[in-house]
């Protein structure tokens, strides 16, 4: 087979990718205002399912952007998602990225309670005293715990990005979050991941960057 490479300058690869995504989406209906997020998820996964499975609560994107501008911090359930989020872009607005999964006190609580570290890490995050966005890309148990903490009135997140991936309670945990009054961006069904969680955070950050340029 003859392999041919397309000549694209390094600075143009992303724009060219988004052109291809936009073209292939054709007239697939997307909720107005959510397009940059949906397209970035497809960019990150090459999986057009995200054009259909992403669910946004009413005004979720506007509320998320406002939260970031207010200096919201982001809590993730994996070091991978933390590594993938553009921390410099977030820091410009005053926020930080937290992941408590590797913390000794979280491990200790998980062992004591017989729960997942993901659940214990949400309990730790609930003690943070700042506006919070949760970006859950791995553990449905984290999302279930967020649901409980929200329903008990112990936390009031500015946004929950609910995109755990997998086969055990993943679908159900997302449906639970969508029952709350908390703004959410959820990938309905089994799909998601740390990469998707990070990419939704970055899509939001880049929307602010671009609107700042205008």
């Amino acid at each position: 087979m003859k392999v041919e490479l397309e000549k694209v300058l390094p600075g143009e690869i992303e724009a060219r990718s988004f052109e291809i995504i936009t073209k292939e989406l054709g007239d697939t209906p997307l909720v107005p205002g959510t397009e940059p997020i949906v397209k970035r998820c497809i960019h990150t996964s090459a999986d057009f399912d995200y054009a259909k499975n992403l669910c946004f609560s009413e005004g979720a994107v506007e509320k998320a952007l406002a939260a970031i501008k207010d200096g919201a911090s982001i809590v993730t359930d994996t070091q991978m998602a933390k590594a993938g989020i553009n921390k410099k872009a977030l820091e410009r607005f005053g926020g930080s990225v937290y992941c408590f999964m590797s913390d000794p006190d979280v491990a200790a609580q998980a062992k004591e309670e017989g729960c997942t570290r993901a659940k214990a890490s949400m309990d730790k995050a609930a003690k943070l005293d700042c506006p919070l966005i949760f970006a859950i890309g791995n553990a449905p148990t984290a999302l279930v715990r967020l649901y409980e903490l929200i329903e008990e009135g112990r936390i009031d997140p500015r946004l929950v990005i609910g995109v755990p991936v997998g086969f055990v309670n993943v679908v159900a945990s997302k449906e639970l979050i969508m029952e709350t009054q908390t703004p959410y961006i959820v990938a309905r069904g089994r799909k998601g991941g740390s990469n998707i969680a990070a990419c939704i955070c970055n899509a939001l950050l880049y929307m602010l960057k671009e609107s700042g340029r205008e």
Copy 2:
């Protein structure tokens, strides 16, 4: 809607997930010996396409396991993949995980040459003096550079995990790597990602852990 959660103990979630994956794969043909890798990619993505798109060069898994036992280090093209690889498990065999994407000298070379940092980071990796596994989950330009370095006889990787994701030269870069004599694990087509790159590394590490238990 009534949401029902399945009761599964934290330590049993992964095993239950693999049960579901195995059941849903049914009699989908997989190359013998590659099943733990294919299933872990599906576990990481909830995307059964990986049962079809993963390509293994002859004996790739055995060669990869031997490389890890020999103390091979892993070079990735993203901090996310680095964050996702089980570094403790790798260190037991003597290897480390490297990602040079954020290094100032890599940024400087990329600027000077007008190339991607991914390409420059592969040039830096080529100077490492140890057995190497490359785990490329993001940048096709990294994979193309590896192809060139291999063809020029400047590197001789023990394995190339070629799973960049996306729309510009991703498909072609994978086909290029499959033309070399280097052992490879490639996700043919557009799909892949840092999460998939990390998960293939981990699947290999867990295969060694499990065989060590016997």
